[in-house]
Symmetry: C2
Subunit: 244 residues, 2 copies
Amino acid sequence: MLLEILSPDDAVAAAIEDMDGARSIPELETRIAQVRDEIRATHLLYHWVNTGGELVGAGTYTHAWRAHYMAENFQAVDPVIRAASQGFHAFEWAHLDWSGKRAQKLAADAQRFSLGNNGLTIPIHGPRAQFAHLTVTLEGSQEDWDLFKDRTGRALILLGHFVNRKVLEVCGYLDTSEEVSLSPRETDALKYLAMGISRARVADQLGISEHTLRVYIESARHKLGAANTTGAIAKAVRLGLILT
Amino acid sequence: MLLEILSPDDAVAAAIEDMDGARSIPELETRIAQVRDEIRATHLLYHWVNTGGELVGAGTYTHAWRAHYMAENFQAVDPVIRAASQGFHAFEWAHLDWSGKRAQKLAADAQRFSLGNNGLTIPIHGPRAQFAHLTVTLEGSQEDWDLFKDRTGRALILLGHFVNRKVLEVCGYLDTSEEVSLSPRETDALKYLAMGISRARVADQLGISEHTLRVYIESARHKLGAANTTGAIAKAVRLGLILT
DNA sequence: GCGAACCTCACCAATATGGGGGAGGTCGGA
DNA sequence: TCCGACCTCCCCCATATTGGTGAGGTTCGC
């Protein structure tokens, strides 16, 4: 019930406050391990999926499992990642579709590495298409799992929010030099092109010539540091510069 | 302090639970009005900014103000919308840059419509580039505002999460027929093109011919229902089908 | 065993894009 | 008052893209 969110395990409350003091990912990892111990979970993991570069995560999964997960390229077939990227609600692993061959291998390997037979994942979406998740697992009976969820499930939504907030701070994701400012016409140009409208029709719609439209496209493309229009539009969408 | 999140105003707690019973946007609006009354704010508003179509919002702003805001196209220059779309942390209106001429008119008009001289906005990012925010305002002194923030600020983060969750349910945003499944090669093709790499180099990188690459591009474009490659890539980025 | 999905490759012609170059007018902030 | 940013428009030429068409092989789930 929603009320449980607001009266969570005191240990979680204290740990969330402690989270704010972390100054690096390793410090965050230490605190996440403490929360895991205090809520008596098997594992607790924060994972920022689409950094576009180095892996950003903090949690109690072993290095052996992380290495194995990467080596097998499990992320490409992980039902958890897929569900989290397309969802907003927290969900249980048991409710996912594990029928694929590679998904079954992932499940079997996860069991072999003792990740826990019960899992709950909270999707986290941030600005500029940032996508992460907070996952908690528990090795135990269905009864234990149900009690565990009732006790901590909702507070973990808040934990996820603050962990992500802290990660964004620590990584300097928000005070970025990537910030680009497009003029209103440049924004319009990209927005309509992103809708798949031809240049001729966009020019028509904006009441300008195709030559003029091209000036806006080229200018925006340079501001975004993109090699071509396609790359510029992909970047603008990801940065949230064009809202559609 | 973080601890206050976990022990919020009892009225807010009850209202959050009540939120889950809403079955439509108007019912949600009724409940948001109740929360506004219980926390003694001037206004409380949920606004889904990029629906790509009809306005989705629920809150206590007057219809006169909403009509005026749209007529003046204030969204294009609203520092609140800009800061929320690029951020993750809750922020106060006073901390924004209102120096622009149009931003100043927005601020003046907002005051004339009695929106409240103090405002706090909580950005909300959902799946598939969904972007919304929960805003609370209070007409009052700095002292009143500081006390108000301390009392309710953190609980509103949770309120925002659940209001958005309920809106997504009510609108059927998550059980969408927009769900598209791209094959691994189609995904790779779009991903590299989105990075601004030329078709020749993408083909090179994937170890296939340009003809083959083109088959993947065309196939993905049709799956996405896009008129051209640019539109297809914009849609794939927005839907979170290509993670970069 | 069969069928759908995926992966692979090729061609022609018309249209679109991009790299360069040129130009002038308006508005708002310092 | 001046300057930078924005808005507007044009040209040439080389390259890339797109709308069509054709084809064959492999894998996996029912």
